[in-house]
C-alpha cells in the first residue's frame, strides 16, 4: 500500500490500469466483432452445404427416374407390354439397375397388378397396389411419381418407391414400372455423404410424413424415426416452420446455429446445426491467448514505467536526503550535483541558488555581528573601564548617592558587555568557528575560580555561595569554556535565587562521569518551559519581582559548548532549580 503513496507507484498503477482498461475495451469489441463475423460466415457455409446436399439428392432422384424411363421403353412395343419371357430378360442381369434400386424392380399392368419382378418375393406377384397413394397419383396423371418414404408392405422396411408409366404410342397407359430403394441399406445418399452428414451435423427431415431421418453411426445407412412432438426440439420446430437460417436455444441451454434447404420432389428438409460454443471455440482460444499476451505486455509496460519513474525520481530522493541533512547541519553548504530529468535539474539549480543565497546571508550575518560587536566594544571599553575605576575608588572617594549611581551604571555596562559576548559566542558556535583547547584538567580550581568571580554579584543579590567537591576529579575539557558554562549557571542562579538563600556549586562522580550541578532554592523553572530551556532565544516568564536579564542565548551556548566537549547539560527541579553539566571523567590507570 505504501507503493501508491509514492509518485513512481502511482504512475506505474496509472499505466497498468489505463493499459488494462484500453486492452479490455479493445478486446471485448474485437471479440464481439469476431463472433459476429464467425457466425455470419458459418451461417453462409451451412446454407451452402445444405443446398449442395439437397442438389445432390435431387440429382440422384432424377437419375433413378431416368433409368426407369429407359426400362419402360424396353417393356413395350408401342401397343402392349412385351411377353413375360422378354420381360423376365429385361429385368434380370441389369447390374446398373440393381445398383440404383437395391430392394426391387417390379412391373405392373395398367391396373397396378404386379406381373413381374427382378427379385422374387413370395406373394408379391399378383398383388394389386392401386390403393397406394403414389400409384393412385400415377394412375390419375400418367406421369412419373416418387413416393414418400413408406414401410414396405411385404418387406417391412423403410422404402422409397419410384414409379414410371409404360406408355403406348398413342399415350395410353400400358403398364407401370417401379423401383424401390431401401433407405436403411442403400440410399439415395451415398455412404460418403452419410459420413459427411454425421460429421457436419446434417439431418434430413421428412416434413410430410413426420419422419425424422438422420445418420445413425451404429447402423449402415439411415434410420427413420418419428419426428418429435412440437416443443420438444426447437431446432426441428424451426426447420419445419420454414425459417431457413438462425440460432436457436436448445432445452439443455446450448445455442445452435442452423441452416435448412428443401428438396421439393420429396418435401424433405436438409437441416444442418452446430453448437455456437463449438463454432466460437477457436475464437475464444485465440482471444484467451491474446488476453494473456496483452496482460503480459501490460505488466512489462507497468514495470518499465515504474523503473523509468523510479530512475527519474532517484535524484529527487537524493535531493530530499541532502536537504534534510543540510537542515540538520547548517555547515553543509556545498551545491548539489545537477543531474536527472529536466524538471529535477531545474529544481536542483533553484535549490543551489537558494543555498548560495543562504551562504551569502550567513556570511553577511557573521560579518555584521562581528563588525557591530567590535564597534560596540570600543566605547564599552572606555565606559566600563572608567566606571570600574570610579567604583574602585582610584579616582577618589565619592558621596554615597554618587557611588550608588556609579555602581548601577557599571553593572549595566557589564551586562551590555555580557550580551555582546553572548551574541559573539553564539555567532561563532553557529559558524563553527569557536576554538576549543581541550586538555586534561582538574575540576576544583575551575569551580573555585567561578565561585570567586561571582562572589561580588552574589553579595549584591544577598545570596550566599557554596562549593562542595567530593573529590578532585579530572576531565578533558577546555577549562575556559567549562568556566563559561559554570559562570552562566551561577549568574542565572544568583539572579533567580530568593534573597538570603543559598546557591551551591557541587561536583561529584556519577558513574563514569563528572557531574557539576549548580543549585538554588528558588521557585525553579515553570514546568511548561523546561523542554525549551536549552534552546536559543528562550526566556521563562516569571514574576515581576526580579527582571530577567540576558539574551536568551546563555543556556543554548552552554549546551553547544558542552556537546563540543563530549558533555551533556540538563535541568531538574527538586526544592529549587538544579542545572547540571556532565563530562566523561578521566579514569586513573
Amino acid at each position: 500500500m505504501l507503493l501508491i503513496h509514492s509518485l513512481r507507484g502511482r504512475l506505474a498503477l496509472v499505466i497498468l490500469m489505463s493499459s488494462l482498461l484500453t486492452l479490455t475495451t479493445v478486446l471485448l469489441l474485437a471479440y464481439q466483432s469476431l463472433v459476429r463475423d464467425l457466425e455470419a460466415e458459418l451461417s453462409r457455409q451451412q446454407a451452402f452445404e445444405t443446398r449442395q446436399l439437397s442438389n445432390q439428392i435431387e440429382a440422384e432422384l432424377t437419375l433413378r427416374l431416368f433409368a426407369l424411363e429407359n426400362l419402360a421403353r424396353e417393356l413395350s412395343d408401342g401397343y402392349r407390354l412385351v411377353d413375360p419371357q422378354n420381360m423376365e430378360r429385361a429385368l434380370t442381369n441389369r447390374s446398373r439397375l440393381e445398383a440404383l434400386f437395391s430392394s426391387a424392380i417390379i412391373v405392373l399392368d395398367s391396373e397396378a397388378n404386379a406381373i413381374a419382378e427382378n427379385i422374387h418375393v413370395p406373394g408379391r406377384l399378383g398383388t394389386n397396389y392401386a390403393d397406394r397413394p403414389h400409384f393412385r397419383r400415377l394412375l390419375r396423371s400418367n406421369a412419373p411419381v416418387i413416393s414418400q418414404p413408406i414401410i414396405g408392405r411385404a418387406t417391412g422396411l423403410p422404402l422409397i418407391s419410384f414409379l414410371h408409366p409404360i406408355l403406348g404410342n398413342e399415350g395410353q397407359l400400358l403398364g407401370i414400372v417401379g423401383g424401390t430403394v431401401d433407405l436403411s441399406e442403400t440410399s439415395v445418399i451415398s455412404a460418403a455423404s452419410l459420413e459427411t452428414m454425421e460429421r457436419l451435423g446434417l439431418q434430413i427431415l421428412d416434413a410430410d410424413n413426420f419422419y425424422y431421418v438422420q445418420g445413425n453411426p451404429d447402423q449402415q445407412g439411415l434410420s427413420i424415426t418419428e419426428l418429435p412432438d412440437p416443443g420438444l426440439n426447437p431446432l426441428i420446430d424451426r426447420a419445419l416452420q420454414g425459417i431457413s437460417t438462425g440460432t436457436v436455444t436448445m432445452p439443455d441451454g446450448s445455442r445452435q446455429l442452423y441452416a435448412t434447404a428443401v428438396i421439393p420432389t420429396l418435401n424433405w428438409i436438409i437441416l444442418k446445426a452446430n453448437p455456437v460454443t463449438e463454432i466460437l471455440a477457436p475464437a475464444r482460444a485465440s482471444f484467451q491467448r491474446f488476453l494473456a499476451l496483452s496482460i503480459g505486455i501490460c505488466l512489462v509496460l507497468a514495470s518499465f514505467g515504474y523503473w523509468a519513474v523510479r530512475h527519474s525520481m532517484t535524484p529527487l530522493s537524493r535531493l530530499t536526503r541532502r536537504i534534510q541533512k543540510m537542515a540538520r547541519d547548517p555547515e553543509l553548504s556545498e551545491p548539489l550535483p545537477v543531474s536527472g530529468i529536466e524538471e529535477i535539474r531545474d529544481l536542483t539549480l533553484a535549490f543551489n541558488s537558494l543555498t548560495d543565497e543562504r551562504n551569502r546571508l550567513s556570511r553577511l550575518k557573521e560579518e555584521f555581528v562581528s563588525t557591530v560587536s567590535h564597534e560596540l566594544r570600543t566605547p564599552l571599553t572606555a565606559l566600563n573601564g572608567a566606571l570600574g575605576l570610579l567604583n574602585s575608588g582610584v579616582a577618589g572617594e565619592m558621596p554615597d548617592k554618587v557611588q550608588e549611581l556609579v555602581k548601577l551604571s557599571h553593572r549595566n555596562a557589564e551586562r551590555l558587555q555580557t550580551l555582546i559576548q553572548d551574541l559573539l559566542d553564539f555567532n561563532k558556535l553557529q559558524a563553527g568557528r569557536m576554538e576549543f583547547n581541550i586538555q586534561r584538567c582538574e575540576v576544583e580550581p575551575i569551580l573555585q575560580a567561578s565561585v570567586e568571580r561571582n562572589r561580588m554579584m552574589a553579595q549584591h543579590y544577598q545570596v550566599r555561595l557554596g562549593l562542595t567537591i567530593d573529590e578532585n576529579i579530572e576531565v578533558e575539557v577546555d577549562a575556559g569554556r567549562l568556566q563559561q558554562i559554570v559562570d552562566n549557571y551561577l549568574t542565572n542562579a544568583i539572579k533567580h535565587a530568593p534573597a538570603r538563600s543559598r546557591v551551591t556549586v557541587s561536583a561529584r562522580r556519577d558513574g563514569p562521569n563528572l557531574l557539576i550541578t549548580v543549585s538554588d532554592q528558588g521557585e525553579g523553572v515553570p514546568e511548561h518551559f523546561v523542554s525549551e530551556l536549552f534552546t536559543r532565544f528562550s526566556q521563562a516568564e516569571v514574576g515581576t519581582t526580579r527582571a530577567i536579564k540576558g539574551t536568551g542565548l546563555g543556556l543554548a551556548i552552554c549546551k553547544e559548548i558542552a556537546e563540543h566537549m563530549a558533555g551533556q547539560v540538563g535541568y531538574h527541579n527538586e526544592n529549587g532549580a538544579h542545572f547540571w553539566v556532565q563530562f566523561p571523567a578521566v579514569m586513573d590507570q
Binding site: 562581528s370 566594544r377 570600543t378 561563532k428
Partner: protein, 129 residues
C-alpha cells in the same frame, strides 16, 4: 636586564580608552606610561622613551597596530621588548594571525582596568624566562 617592569609605551588612538588605560596602568599599576595616539607617534617616541613593554592597539587609522609592530621590530634595538596587542576583534582567525607575528600576548577589549596591570606584569614576567 631589569627584574621589574616600570616603563610602558601605550599606543591607543581612542582618547577615552587611552584615558582609562592610563589610569589603570599609572594609578592602579604604578607604571611609568608614555601615551601615543598613533603608530607613527609610537615610532617617533620609542627611541627616547626606551620602554620595557609596548602595549599596542591593533585597529588604528594611518599605520595600524600590525604595521607599527613590524616597523618597531625593524628599528633593531627592540628584540627583547615584549609587545602586547589590545584588540576588540575576537574572531579566532584574527587572533591566530596576530599570534603568528611573534607578539607576547593579546589583551581583548573591553578590559578590566583594575586587573589590567596585573595581567601586563604576568605577561612581562613570562617573557623574561
Amino acid at each position: 636586564m631589569t627584574t621589574t617592569l616600570t616603563r610602558i609605551l601605550y599606543v591607543e588612538d581612542d582618547a577615552d580608552i587611552q584615558a582609562v588605560g592610563e589610569l589603570a596602568l599609572a594609578h592602579v599599576g604604578g607604571f611609568t606610561v608614555e601615551l601615543c595616539s598613533s603608530g607613527q607617534e609610537a615610532l617617533d617616541k620609542v627611541a627616547d622613551f626606551q620602554p620595557e613593554l609596548i602595549l599596542l592597539d591593533v585597529m588604528m587609522p594611518g599605520i595600524d597596530g600590525i604595521e607599527t609592530y613590524q616597523a618597531l621590530k625593524e628599528l633593531g634595538h627592540l628584540e627583547n621588548t615584549p609587545v602586547v596587542f589590545m584588540t576588540a576583534k575576537v574572531q579566532e582567525e584574527d587572533l591566530a594571525r596576530y599570534r603568528q607575528l611573534g607578539i607576547a600576548d593579546i589583551i581583548s577589549k573591553p578590559f578590566d582596568p583594575m586587573s589590567l596591570s596585573d595581567r601586563i606584569r604576568n605577561i612581562w614576567q613570562q617573557c623574561q624566562h
